[in-house]
Subunit: 190 residues, 2 copies
Protein backbone atom coordinates (compact mmCIF):
# COMPACT_ATOMS: atom_id res chain seq x y z
CA UNK A 1 0.00 0.00 0.00
CA UNK A 2 1.52 3.32 -1.09
CA UNK A 3 -0.24 6.65 -1.18
CA UNK A 4 1.56 9.88 -1.82
CA UNK A 5 -1.20 12.47 -1.75
CA UNK A 6 -0.55 15.93 -0.32
CA UNK A 7 -2.05 16.85 3.03
CA UNK A 8 -5.41 18.49 2.29
CA UNK A 9 -8.64 19.38 4.11
CA UNK A 10 -12.04 19.09 2.33
CA UNK A 11 -15.36 20.47 3.53
CA UNK A 12 -18.55 18.43 3.36
CA UNK A 13 -22.25 19.35 3.29
CA UNK A 14 -22.38 19.03 7.08
CA UNK A 15 -20.96 22.24 8.63
CA UNK A 16 -17.69 21.54 10.46
CA UNK A 17 -17.39 17.94 9.22
CA UNK A 18 -14.15 17.80 7.22
CA UNK A 19 -12.33 14.99 5.41
CA UNK A 20 -8.53 14.98 5.21
CA UNK A 21 -6.09 13.45 2.72
CA UNK A 22 -3.01 12.24 4.59
CA UNK A 23 0.40 11.69 2.96
CA UNK A 24 1.53 8.06 3.47
CA UNK A 25 5.22 7.31 2.86
CA UNK A 26 5.88 3.77 1.62
CA UNK A 27 9.26 2.01 1.74
CA UNK A 28 10.83 -1.47 2.06
CA UNK A 29 9.54 -1.77 5.64
CA UNK A 30 5.90 -0.79 5.08
CA UNK A 31 4.66 2.76 5.46
CA UNK A 32 4.70 5.75 7.80
CA UNK A 33 2.17 8.54 8.24
CA UNK A 34 1.64 11.60 10.36
CA UNK A 35 -1.85 10.58 11.38
CA UNK A 36 -2.48 13.91 13.07
CA UNK A 37 -0.13 16.91 13.00
CA UNK A 38 -1.51 19.90 14.84
CA UNK A 39 0.51 22.74 13.27
CA UNK A 40 0.18 21.66 9.63
CA UNK A 41 -3.52 20.84 9.98
CA UNK A 42 -4.48 24.01 11.85
CA UNK A 43 -2.70 25.97 9.09
CA UNK A 44 -5.08 24.27 6.61
CA UNK A 45 -8.14 25.21 8.66
CA UNK A 46 -8.67 22.18 10.92
CA UNK A 47 -9.86 23.18 14.42
CA UNK A 48 -7.07 23.26 17.00
CA UNK A 49 -7.82 19.97 18.77
CA UNK A 50 -6.39 19.43 22.26
CA UNK A 51 -6.73 15.69 22.68
CA UNK A 52 -6.96 14.14 26.14
CA UNK A 53 -7.84 10.62 25.04
CA UNK A 54 -6.97 8.27 22.15
CA UNK A 55 -9.20 5.24 21.55
CA UNK A 56 -8.69 2.22 19.31
CA UNK A 57 -11.33 -0.26 18.22
CA UNK A 58 -10.44 -3.52 16.53
CA UNK A 59 -13.09 -5.09 14.30
CA UNK A 60 -12.64 -8.78 13.70
CA UNK A 61 -14.55 -9.19 10.48
CA UNK A 62 -15.83 -7.32 7.45
CA UNK A 63 -19.31 -6.01 8.23
CA UNK A 64 -18.86 -4.97 11.86
CA UNK A 65 -21.03 -1.86 12.22
CA UNK A 66 -20.96 0.66 15.11
CA UNK A 67 -23.14 3.76 15.63
CA UNK A 68 -24.88 6.11 15.25
CA UNK A 69 -23.50 8.10 18.21
CA UNK A 70 -23.35 11.88 18.63
CA UNK A 71 -21.15 12.70 21.58
CA UNK A 72 -20.43 15.82 23.68
CA UNK A 73 -16.86 16.19 22.29
CA UNK A 74 -15.02 16.62 19.01
CA UNK A 75 -13.45 13.56 17.36
CA UNK A 76 -10.56 13.16 14.91
CA UNK A 77 -10.95 9.72 13.33
CA UNK A 78 -8.74 7.64 11.08
CA UNK A 79 -7.88 4.12 10.05
CA UNK A 80 -4.72 2.38 11.25
CA UNK A 81 -5.28 -0.59 8.96
CA UNK A 82 -8.21 -1.76 6.82
CA UNK A 83 -11.08 0.22 5.34
CA UNK A 84 -14.48 1.52 6.44
CA UNK A 85 -17.64 2.90 4.97
CA UNK A 86 -18.50 5.80 7.27
CA UNK A 87 -21.81 7.61 7.77
CA UNK A 88 -22.30 10.91 9.60
CA UNK A 89 -25.61 12.54 10.52
CA UNK A 90 -26.03 16.11 11.73
CA UNK A 91 -27.97 15.90 15.02
CA UNK A 92 -27.52 19.54 16.06
CA UNK A 93 -30.56 21.81 16.09
CA UNK A 94 -31.01 23.88 12.93
CA UNK A 95 -31.48 23.72 9.19
CA UNK A 96 -29.01 20.88 8.65
CA UNK A 97 -30.53 18.56 11.31
CA UNK A 98 -30.81 15.08 9.78
CA UNK A 99 -28.38 15.74 6.92
CA UNK A 100 -26.26 12.66 6.05
CA UNK A 101 -22.72 12.42 4.65
CA UNK A 102 -21.08 9.11 3.71
CA UNK A 103 -17.66 8.12 2.33
CA UNK A 104 -15.07 5.38 2.59
CA UNK A 105 -11.89 5.86 4.63
CA UNK A 106 -8.63 3.91 4.34
CA UNK A 107 -5.28 4.77 6.01
CA UNK A 108 -4.75 7.69 3.60
CA UNK A 109 -7.82 9.60 4.90
CA UNK A 110 -9.06 11.03 8.17
CA UNK A 111 -12.21 12.86 9.27
CA UNK A 112 -12.91 15.53 11.86
CA UNK A 113 -16.35 15.08 13.45
CA UNK A 114 -17.60 18.02 15.52
CA UNK A 115 -19.65 17.40 18.66
CA UNK A 116 -23.32 16.87 17.87
CA UNK A 117 -22.67 15.10 14.57
CA UNK A 118 -23.61 11.42 14.77
CA UNK A 119 -20.80 9.00 13.87
CA UNK A 120 -21.07 5.45 12.49
CA UNK A 121 -19.00 3.04 10.44
CA UNK A 122 -19.05 -0.38 8.83
CA UNK A 123 -15.80 -2.25 8.19
CA UNK A 124 -15.05 -3.28 4.61
CA UNK A 125 -12.10 -5.53 5.53
CA UNK A 126 -11.43 -8.11 8.24
CA UNK A 127 -9.26 -6.77 11.07
CA UNK A 128 -9.95 -3.10 10.39
CA UNK A 129 -8.44 -1.03 13.19
CA UNK A 130 -10.03 2.33 13.87
CA UNK A 131 -8.34 5.03 15.95
CA UNK A 132 -9.55 8.40 17.20
CA UNK A 133 -8.57 11.35 19.33
CA UNK A 134 -11.11 13.17 21.52
CA UNK A 135 -10.89 16.44 23.43
CA UNK A 136 -12.80 15.32 26.56
CA UNK A 137 -12.67 12.26 28.79
CA UNK A 138 -15.23 9.51 28.26
CA UNK A 139 -17.14 8.12 31.24
CA UNK A 140 -20.31 6.08 31.76
CA UNK A 141 -21.94 9.27 33.11
CA UNK A 142 -21.01 11.15 29.91
CA UNK A 143 -22.40 8.27 27.83
CA UNK A 144 -25.87 9.13 29.19
CA UNK A 145 -25.56 12.48 27.39
CA UNK A 146 -24.98 10.94 23.94
CA UNK A 147 -27.61 11.39 21.27
CA UNK A 148 -28.27 8.20 19.30
CA UNK A 149 -30.05 7.43 16.05
CA UNK A 150 -30.74 4.07 14.43
CA UNK A 151 -28.39 2.79 11.72
CA UNK A 152 -31.31 1.25 9.84
CA UNK A 153 -33.68 4.24 9.90
CA UNK A 154 -35.25 4.52 6.41
CA UNK A 155 -35.45 8.32 6.83
CA UNK A 156 -31.63 8.38 6.83
CA UNK A 157 -31.53 5.93 3.90
CA UNK A 158 -27.87 5.02 4.45
CA UNK A 159 -26.79 2.58 1.77
CA UNK A 160 -24.67 0.20 3.91
CA UNK A 161 -22.42 -1.97 1.69
CA UNK A 162 -23.17 -5.01 3.89
CA UNK A 163 -26.88 -5.28 4.76
CA UNK A 164 -27.41 -4.61 8.48
CA UNK A 165 -29.27 -7.90 8.81
CA UNK A 166 -25.96 -9.67 7.96
CA UNK A 167 -23.73 -7.27 9.94
CA UNK A 168 -22.21 -7.65 13.42
CA UNK A 169 -23.66 -5.01 15.80
CA UNK A 170 -23.93 -4.47 19.55
CA UNK A 171 -27.36 -4.96 21.11
CA UNK A 172 -27.27 -1.32 22.19
CA UNK A 173 -26.81 -0.13 18.61
CA UNK A 174 -29.79 -2.23 17.41
CA UNK A 175 -32.08 -0.39 19.86
CA UNK A 176 -31.51 3.29 18.96
CA UNK A 177 -34.54 5.41 17.93
CA UNK A 178 -35.35 6.68 14.43
CA UNK A 179 -34.50 10.27 13.49
CA UNK A 180 -38.08 11.48 13.91
CA UNK A 181 -37.85 10.64 17.66
CA UNK A 182 -34.45 12.26 18.21
CA UNK A 183 -34.19 15.43 20.29
CA UNK A 184 -31.46 17.57 18.69
CA UNK A 185 -28.26 17.65 20.72
CA UNK A 186 -27.71 20.66 23.00
CA UNK A 187 -25.42 23.11 21.21
CA UNK A 188 -23.18 23.76 24.25
CA UNK A 189 -21.35 21.65 26.78
CA UNK A 190 -23.27 21.40 30.05
CA UNK B 1 -8.07 -11.47 21.47
CA UNK B 2 -9.40 -10.51 24.90
CA UNK B 3 -7.41 -8.93 27.69
CA UNK B 4 -9.03 -7.62 30.82
CA UNK B 5 -6.11 -6.35 32.87
CA UNK B 6 -6.51 -3.26 35.04
CA UNK B 7 -4.84 -0.03 33.96
CA UNK B 8 -1.40 0.02 35.64
CA UNK B 9 1.95 1.82 35.29
CA UNK B 10 5.24 -0.03 35.90
CA UNK B 11 8.69 1.52 36.31
CA UNK B 12 11.74 0.09 34.59
CA UNK B 13 15.51 0.29 35.28
CA UNK B 14 15.72 3.31 32.95
CA UNK B 15 14.56 6.40 34.87
CA UNK B 16 11.31 7.79 33.42
CA UNK B 17 10.75 4.83 31.06
CA UNK B 18 7.43 3.27 32.12
CA UNK B 19 5.39 0.35 30.79
CA UNK B 20 1.59 0.41 31.02
CA UNK B 21 -1.03 -2.35 31.14
CA UNK B 22 -4.11 -1.25 29.21
CA UNK B 23 -7.61 -2.70 29.74
CA UNK B 24 -8.92 -4.14 26.46
CA UNK B 25 -12.67 -4.83 26.27
CA UNK B 26 -13.60 -7.72 23.97
CA UNK B 27 -17.08 -8.37 22.55
CA UNK B 28 -18.85 -9.84 19.49
CA UNK B 29 -17.47 -7.06 17.27
CA UNK B 30 -13.79 -7.24 18.27
CA UNK B 31 -12.31 -5.10 21.02
CA UNK B 32 -12.11 -1.54 22.29
CA UNK B 33 -9.37 0.18 24.32
CA UNK B 34 -8.60 3.57 25.73
CA UNK B 35 -5.14 3.66 24.20
CA UNK B 36 -4.27 6.83 26.09
CA UNK B 37 -6.41 8.53 28.73
CA UNK B 38 -4.79 11.58 30.20
CA UNK B 39 -6.68 11.91 33.52
CA UNK B 40 -6.54 8.25 34.56
CA UNK B 41 -2.89 7.87 33.55
CA UNK B 42 -1.69 11.09 35.19
CA UNK B 43 -3.42 9.92 38.38
CA UNK B 44 -1.24 6.78 38.21
CA UNK B 45 1.96 8.82 37.78
CA UNK B 46 2.37 9.07 34.01
CA UNK B 47 3.73 12.48 32.93
CA UNK B 48 1.04 14.88 31.70
CA UNK B 49 1.64 14.55 27.95
CA UNK B 50 0.29 17.30 25.67
CA UNK B 51 0.42 15.63 22.27
CA UNK B 52 0.66 17.70 19.10
CA UNK B 53 1.29 14.83 16.69
CA UNK B 54 0.18 11.20 16.29
CA UNK B 55 2.21 8.92 13.99
CA UNK B 56 1.43 5.46 12.66
CA UNK B 57 3.88 3.05 11.09
CA UNK B 58 2.74 -0.07 9.27
CA UNK B 59 5.20 -2.94 9.07
CA UNK B 60 4.50 -5.39 6.27
CA UNK B 61 6.29 -8.46 7.61
CA UNK B 62 7.56 -10.08 10.77
CA UNK B 63 11.15 -8.93 11.33
CA UNK B 64 10.88 -5.29 10.27
CA UNK B 65 13.25 -3.46 12.62
CA UNK B 66 13.44 0.33 13.20
CA UNK B 67 15.83 2.30 15.45
CA UNK B 68 17.69 3.14 17.58
CA UNK B 69 16.53 6.78 17.70
CA UNK B 70 16.63 9.17 20.68
CA UNK B 71 14.58 12.23 19.86
CA UNK B 72 14.12 15.69 21.38
CA UNK B 73 10.56 14.97 22.57
CA UNK B 74 8.63 12.52 24.74
CA UNK B 75 6.82 9.59 23.11
CA UNK B 76 3.83 7.49 24.19
CA UNK B 77 3.94 4.30 22.14
CA UNK B 78 1.54 1.43 21.67
CA UNK B 79 0.44 -1.27 19.27
CA UNK B 80 -2.79 -1.01 17.28
CA UNK B 81 -2.49 -4.56 15.98
CA UNK B 82 0.29 -7.17 16.04
CA UNK B 83 3.23 -7.53 18.41
CA UNK B 84 6.73 -6.11 18.80
CA UNK B 85 9.93 -6.82 20.65
CA UNK B 86 11.04 -3.37 21.82
CA UNK B 87 14.46 -2.19 22.97
CA UNK B 88 15.22 1.10 24.75
CA UNK B 89 18.66 2.54 25.52
CA UNK B 90 19.34 5.43 27.86
CA UNK B 91 21.37 7.99 25.85
CA UNK B 92 21.18 10.83 28.38
CA UNK B 93 24.35 11.90 30.17
CA UNK B 94 24.81 10.30 33.61
CA UNK B 95 25.15 7.04 35.46
CA UNK B 96 22.49 5.21 33.44
CA UNK B 97 23.97 6.12 30.00
CA UNK B 98 23.96 2.95 27.88
CA UNK B 99 21.49 1.04 30.05
CA UNK B 100 19.17 -1.22 28.01
CA UNK B 101 15.57 -2.30 28.67
CA UNK B 102 13.70 -4.77 26.45
CA UNK B 103 10.19 -6.25 26.47
CA UNK B 104 7.43 -7.33 24.10
CA UNK B 105 4.36 -5.16 23.52
CA UNK B 106 0.97 -6.24 22.15
CA UNK B 107 -2.27 -4.18 22.08
CA UNK B 108 -2.69 -4.62 25.85
CA UNK B 109 0.53 -2.69 26.66
CA UNK B 110 1.98 0.77 26.06
CA UNK B 111 5.26 2.48 26.92
CA UNK B 112 6.21 6.04 27.75
CA UNK B 113 9.66 6.94 26.39
CA UNK B 114 11.16 10.17 27.71
CA UNK B 115 13.29 12.37 25.44
CA UNK B 116 16.89 11.19 25.30
CA UNK B 117 16.00 7.50 25.60
CA UNK B 118 16.72 5.64 22.35
CA UNK B 119 13.77 3.76 20.89
CA UNK B 120 13.74 0.68 18.64
CA UNK B 121 11.48 -2.21 17.77
CA UNK B 122 11.26 -5.41 15.76
CA UNK B 123 7.89 -6.74 14.64
CA UNK B 124 6.94 -10.26 15.72
CA UNK B 125 3.89 -10.53 13.43
CA UNK B 126 3.16 -9.56 9.81
CA UNK B 127 1.17 -6.34 9.51
CA UNK B 128 2.06 -4.98 12.93
CA UNK B 129 0.77 -1.42 13.22
CA UNK B 130 2.61 0.85 15.65
CA UNK B 131 1.14 4.14 16.87
CA UNK B 132 2.60 6.94 18.99
CA UNK B 133 1.88 10.37 20.36
CA UNK B 134 4.58 13.03 20.63
CA UNK B 135 4.63 16.42 22.37
CA UNK B 136 6.58 18.32 19.68
CA UNK B 137 6.34 18.57 15.90
CA UNK B 138 8.73 16.50 13.79
CA UNK B 139 10.63 18.15 10.94
CA UNK B 140 13.67 17.31 8.85
CA UNK B 141 15.55 20.05 10.76
CA UNK B 142 14.61 18.41 14.09
CA UNK B 143 15.77 15.04 12.74
CA UNK B 144 19.33 16.43 12.61
CA UNK B 145 19.15 16.73 16.42
CA UNK B 146 18.37 13.04 16.98
CA UNK B 147 20.94 10.86 18.71
CA UNK B 148 21.33 7.45 17.05
CA UNK B 149 22.96 4.19 18.09
CA UNK B 150 23.37 0.99 16.10
CA UNK B 151 20.85 -1.83 16.56
CA UNK B 152 23.63 -4.44 16.17
CA UNK B 153 26.17 -2.93 18.57
CA UNK B 154 27.64 -5.83 20.64
CA UNK B 155 28.08 -3.44 23.59
CA UNK B 156 24.27 -3.18 23.79
CA UNK B 157 23.93 -6.95 23.30
CA UNK B 158 20.24 -6.74 22.36
CA UNK B 159 18.92 -10.25 21.79
CA UNK B 160 16.73 -9.57 18.70
CA UNK B 161 14.27 -12.47 18.14
CA UNK B 162 14.90 -12.28 14.37
CA UNK B 163 18.63 -11.93 13.54
CA UNK B 164 19.31 -8.47 12.11
CA UNK B 165 20.97 -10.08 9.08
CA UNK B 166 17.54 -11.52 8.17
CA UNK B 167 15.55 -8.42 9.19
CA UNK B 168 14.11 -5.60 7.06
CA UNK B 169 15.80 -2.28 7.97
CA UNK B 170 16.23 1.15 6.39
CA UNK B 171 19.68 1.99 5.00
CA UNK B 172 19.85 4.86 7.51
CA UNK B 173 19.34 2.50 10.45
CA UNK B 174 22.15 0.17 9.23
CA UNK B 175 24.60 3.09 9.37
CA UNK B 176 24.25 4.35 12.98
CA UNK B 177 27.36 4.41 15.21
CA UNK B 178 28.13 2.09 18.13
CA UNK B 179 27.48 3.28 21.70
CA UNK B 180 31.16 4.06 22.35
CA UNK B 181 31.00 6.78 19.65
CA UNK B 182 27.71 8.32 20.85
CA UNK B 183 27.73 11.80 22.40
CA UNK B 184 25.07 11.76 25.16
CA UNK B 185 21.95 13.70 24.23
CA UNK B 186 21.68 17.27 25.55
CA UNK B 187 19.47 17.26 28.68
CA UNK B 188 17.39 20.29 27.64
CA UNK B 189 15.55 21.41 24.56
CA UNK B 190 17.58 23.87 22.48
C1 LIG C 1 -16.24 4.89 24.03
C2 LIG C 1 -15.55 4.16 25.18
C3 LIG C 1 -15.90 2.88 25.53
N1 LIG C 1 -15.30 2.23 26.59
C4 LIG C 1 -15.66 0.83 26.89
C5 LIG C 1 -17.09 0.59 27.26
C6 LIG C 1 -17.32 -0.82 26.72
O1 LIG C 1 -16.79 -1.78 27.64
C7 LIG C 1 -16.43 -0.90 25.49
C8 LIG C 1 -17.16 -0.65 24.19
O2 LIG C 1 -17.96 0.53 24.32
P1 LIG C 1 -19.11 0.86 23.26
O3 LIG C 1 -19.78 2.12 23.69
O4 LIG C 1 -19.93 -0.36 23.00
O5 LIG C 1 -18.19 1.14 21.99
P2 LIG C 1 -18.59 1.52 20.50
O6 LIG C 1 -17.46 1.10 19.62
O7 LIG C 1 -19.98 1.02 20.19
O8 LIG C 1 -18.63 3.11 20.60
C9 LIG C 1 -17.96 3.90 19.69
O9 LIG C 1 -18.75 3.93 18.49
C10 LIG C 1 -18.22 4.78 17.48
C11 LIG C 1 -19.17 4.74 16.29
C12 LIG C 1 -18.09 6.17 18.07
O10 LIG C 1 -17.51 7.02 17.15
C13 LIG C 1 -17.19 6.12 19.28
O11 LIG C 1 -16.96 7.42 19.79
C14 LIG C 1 -17.81 5.26 20.33
O12 LIG C 1 -19.06 5.79 20.72
O13 LIG C 1 -15.41 0.08 25.70
C15 LIG C 1 -14.28 2.84 27.30
O14 LIG C 1 -13.71 2.22 28.22
N2 LIG C 1 -13.90 4.10 26.96
C16 LIG C 1 -14.48 4.79 25.92
O15 LIG C 1 -14.03 5.93 25.63
C1 LIG D 1 9.27 10.40 12.13
C2 LIG D 1 8.59 11.03 10.92
C3 LIG D 1 8.90 10.62 9.64
N1 LIG D 1 8.28 11.18 8.56
C4 LIG D 1 8.54 10.69 7.20
C5 LIG D 1 9.98 10.76 6.74
C6 LIG D 1 10.08 9.55 5.84
O1 LIG D 1 9.54 9.84 4.54
C7 LIG D 1 9.15 8.53 6.45
C8 LIG D 1 9.87 7.51 7.33
O2 LIG D 1 10.75 8.21 8.24
P1 LIG D 1 11.86 7.42 9.05
O3 LIG D 1 12.64 8.42 9.85
O4 LIG D 1 12.61 6.49 8.13
O5 LIG D 1 10.94 6.54 10.00
P2 LIG D 1 11.30 5.47 11.09
O6 LIG D 1 10.14 4.58 11.27
O7 LIG D 1 12.64 4.86 10.79
O8 LIG D 1 11.46 6.40 12.38
C9 LIG D 1 10.81 6.09 13.56
O9 LIG D 1 11.53 5.05 14.20
C10 LIG D 1 11.04 4.71 15.48
C11 LIG D 1 11.94 3.61 16.05
C12 LIG D 1 11.02 5.94 16.35
O10 LIG D 1 10.44 5.67 17.57
C13 LIG D 1 10.15 6.99 15.68
O11 LIG D 1 10.03 8.12 16.51
C14 LIG D 1 10.75 7.37 14.39
O12 LIG D 1 12.04 7.92 14.58
O13 LIG D 1 8.21 9.28 7.21
C15 LIG D 1 7.32 12.18 8.71
O14 LIG D 1 6.74 12.68 7.72
N2 LIG D 1 7.01 12.59 9.97
C16 LIG D 1 7.59 12.06 11.09
O15 LIG D 1 7.22 12.46 12.23
Amino acid sequence: MEFESELAVHRTDIPGLVVLDLPVHGDNRGWFKENWQRAKMVALGLPDIRPVQNNISYNTSRGVTRGIHAEPWDKYISIAIGEIFGAWVDLRPGATFGRVFTCTLDPSKAIFVPRGVGNAFQTLADGTTYTYLVDAHWSLAQKRTYTFVNLADPDLAIDWPIPLTAAELSDADRAHPPLREVVPMAPKRT
